[in-house]
Amino acid sequence: MGQTEQQISADVRAAKDVVQHFVKVRKSMRIYLQNNEVLTRLKQELSRRFAAFFETVSGPLEITISRNDLTYGDTVVYQKDGTDEDELLFQLYRSGLRSLTFHQGVEKDELFKFLGMLNQTADQNVQDDLVTLLWSGEFRFIQYYAIDDYLEEGGAEEGMKALEARVDSPTPLPPPNPEAAGPYNEDVEMDLSRVKADQRLPREAAGLSERETALLLKEVEEHDTAQLLKTTVEIALEAMVAESTRDQENKLTEVVIALGQSLIDEGDFKTAAQYYGHIDQLSRTEFKSVPQVLRVQQQIKFTFANPAHWKNLAGLLNDVFTGDLNDIPRFLALIPDTAMPELLNQYAQIQSPNLRKAFLDGLLPHSEKNGAALVNFLGSAAARPVLREVIALLGRAEDPKAVEMLGKYVRDPDPRIRREAVFALGRGKSNDAANLLVQCLDDEDLEIRTTALRNLMSMQANTTFPRLKALLERSDFEEREFQEKMRFSLALAKVGSWQSVSFFAAVLNRKSLFSGKNDVELKLCAVQALGSLVSVDGDGDQMAFSDRTDRAQVEQLLRTQGNNQPKPVREKIDEILKSLDRRKGSVR
């Protein structure tokens, strides 16, 4: 006896453990979003408690639901607390559930799916109640028992009687009033001309091949949400053209927008992008210049352009987004530039670095026309944690204010900020940007100087050559590292081409009292730069006449340097001349 009692109380304790934690999880689900860590931990704990129950008890966990409590066996394991209408008990009872049974082996998947259903139906204003969801869930380890007597309201008994009478009679009942015209609502078009009425239905008429069966079954399993939505929007647009009143048109417009919005709300950015892309395509093809459809597009644009519309975008990315990172820039491309200020705010709130990076990619195209928004954002406190990443966008902006802002950043004491800024400058094209880059050529940070040089080269601004030359002519230039001097010299040869020859010739002809290390290095750079000019590949005959002359002059210059130069420089010159001769030989 004592043993049994103990056993019973252990059962009940385990059941209480489960149920009470269940209530807790239910409450937390209304507070936290689905990917939230706290919630995940709570859910894991629930699954653990279920396991503990089945270790203690061999049977299933059957919970009986009544208006005021939940019972396991004869023991109340949970009681209604207060008047909160949203509470678990009320939700279960209201939907008609009277018992829930969890069988041994119930898996996390089913359990979490069940929890999801509770959440989905918390709002009374939905298309499903808990019971219809449970039914569709096809659970294997969770069974329920529900009443549906509310279906019985209003005249059901008479209806039932009439139906029974109709079925009970072995012979047909005469129509209640044979004279009265019955409803005639034929909507099926028939053409009976091909019917073989006097032949028996052939056996083959039912003969499905394996391939045919497989085809059908495949289609049954298929669910392509994107395709479904595309078809829906086609239907909605079609109906919109047919519906006569503006009110109906507005309702449908709302629906078309809501369909896409529901995808966004689920974090399914990929399908959302496909969906809106499809509308856009329809408006250019089948529905070209249909006013109703144009109005729909305007409405979508209007909605999306509103920064307030995107207030929860970061939340969605943090908490529900599960798609591919590439979906993010594709999705952001749908949003008009005017929403940029909010997009930047949202960007700052995204937690995962990967998501942030993808988001940043999507912001790039929006940056062109959004210099002012960027400058504003960068000036705000919200920008601080993401400052360096957002600086990268500034380069893309066409607004002069953006370059101005970058000018501030290239003078920032923090080299990391300067690095981002000089990198961003490479995306600009203006003279102002080029001027800033030239300034950066003197930065104390080698990486910044190198990036600045590379960016300058790619900008092909016509002021680059004189500025670069001025830098190389400065007496402090020779103090730099050999590699950097070489890089700068080659760059000068490249932007200046033959114009740079006189500069390098001057370097070579410079008389110095002693051939110090820096002097030798500078001359080596000059030789290499001149070499780069003459060793350009290309067929001599096709070269412009002036180029040929210039090339010959440089060659001549090198050949006549002879004994004037220090040994390493002479060697370098010989090397270049030899390779030139080799090439000439091979051309002949």
Partner: protein
Amino acid sequence: MRNTGMMEAAGASSRDAQINLNGREFVRAFAALIKTASIYDPKNTIFNQPVEAVHKSVSRLFDDNATVTVDVVVDEIYINRNLIKMDMAIFGSYKQLGEDLLSKNLGGFELSANPNMDQWKQFAVLLARFKASTEEGWREANELFSRQGMTWVTFTEKKERLESAEHVADVKSRRTRALRNYTQALSVMREAMTHLEDPDKIDTRQAKRVVHNLVDLSFEDDDDFSFMGLSSIKNHDEYTYNHMVNVCIISIAFGQKLGLKKSHMGELGISALFHDYGKLFIPLRILNKSTKFTDEEWEIMKSHPLLAVRLLYNLKGVSPSSIKRLLVAMQHHINYNATGYPAFRVPQKLHLYSRIVSIADTYDAMTTRRCYQEPFAPDFVLKYLLSEAGRKYDPILIKAFINTLGIWPVGSCVELNTGHIAVVCKTNPRPEHLERPYIKVVRDRSGNMMDPQLRDLSHPSQASLKIMRCVDSEKYNINVPHYLV
């Protein structure tokens, strides 16, 4: 504790569906395991997945029973004495498992406990290699398996029939339940009619409950109850509602035959129920007209699929399943070859449900009486559908539909070679006997009423009976639903 009949009824219905679901799972998993065992070495890791699936499905079966029995009776599989329904999705596993056991002269087996995964593997490997040398394979197997220490399994002999488990619900209460479901479905549609101005108010939750109950009911189809037979209930005066409910029932039965998942059957059922939703916006003077339509009226009638877009005004209802509902309402008059109505700018890819409902819709419309037109006999309608296969209707689905209803369709009255008149009650579940349905003989040669008994024409004892032709139920004064429901 469970007091009212209504409550009991709902419980029983979903229990049947649950048993069938668990049983199917087992058949599928076990057939896969045996197949694996006959091909692969036991050490192969490929075993893990099927072994786990079997273990799981059996543990679920043990939840409701102290032992688990598997019986193969001729070509049917029973689990815990419940017939597991065969449909197109499970067909392969079902046949393979049945034939495999019978070829070893085993009639099935009983498990006294759920063995662990290793034991399951051992069991499968041994069973796959087992060959009977005598008629009494089950005796040999029992000896062999117990020698291997597998005392938790007992093989049973082959049998011609199984004393079936006690009926979960008695026939009478099920009939009441079926009729109640039908009434509820009618009233849900009538209720929907009252919210035309404000479709937001339509309670789709109620409609779903009703359809779910119908789907559950469709799993109870057995010798005493023909789910498809419910669709033979016609009502001349309330055609619109009856038609919607009947199309729903036919579509569910069709979906079951196709092997649709239960949740998909629910989606299909609700789509079918609402397929003519747009008609509710057609003026009654046109809808209830007793003569043929003028061209102008016909044009208005033809707008009903497009009018169903108003289902969408119900903003809270935008979900994949509500979209399918809309698609069906929109597409059910668009033909397989893209003719029909309405004409869309973008050619529509017809959804599977639309193609199913289009067939069910035509079938019910044509078998129902109109004021200007006698109903067509079910077999004529099948011939009509066949004549339009590949033109109006998906030809593969037409074949499947004829499989669902039979060569002599459920609900038709037939004359036998003896001169008796019978009602076709059920399709023969064995595809090779599609021409030999289950019938009830209802009139003798002279037209006198007979006490109807269900006969399986494929049973050897009925071999002398032949169906000669379909006859008109009116002519013999037969109320068909009386014998089906």
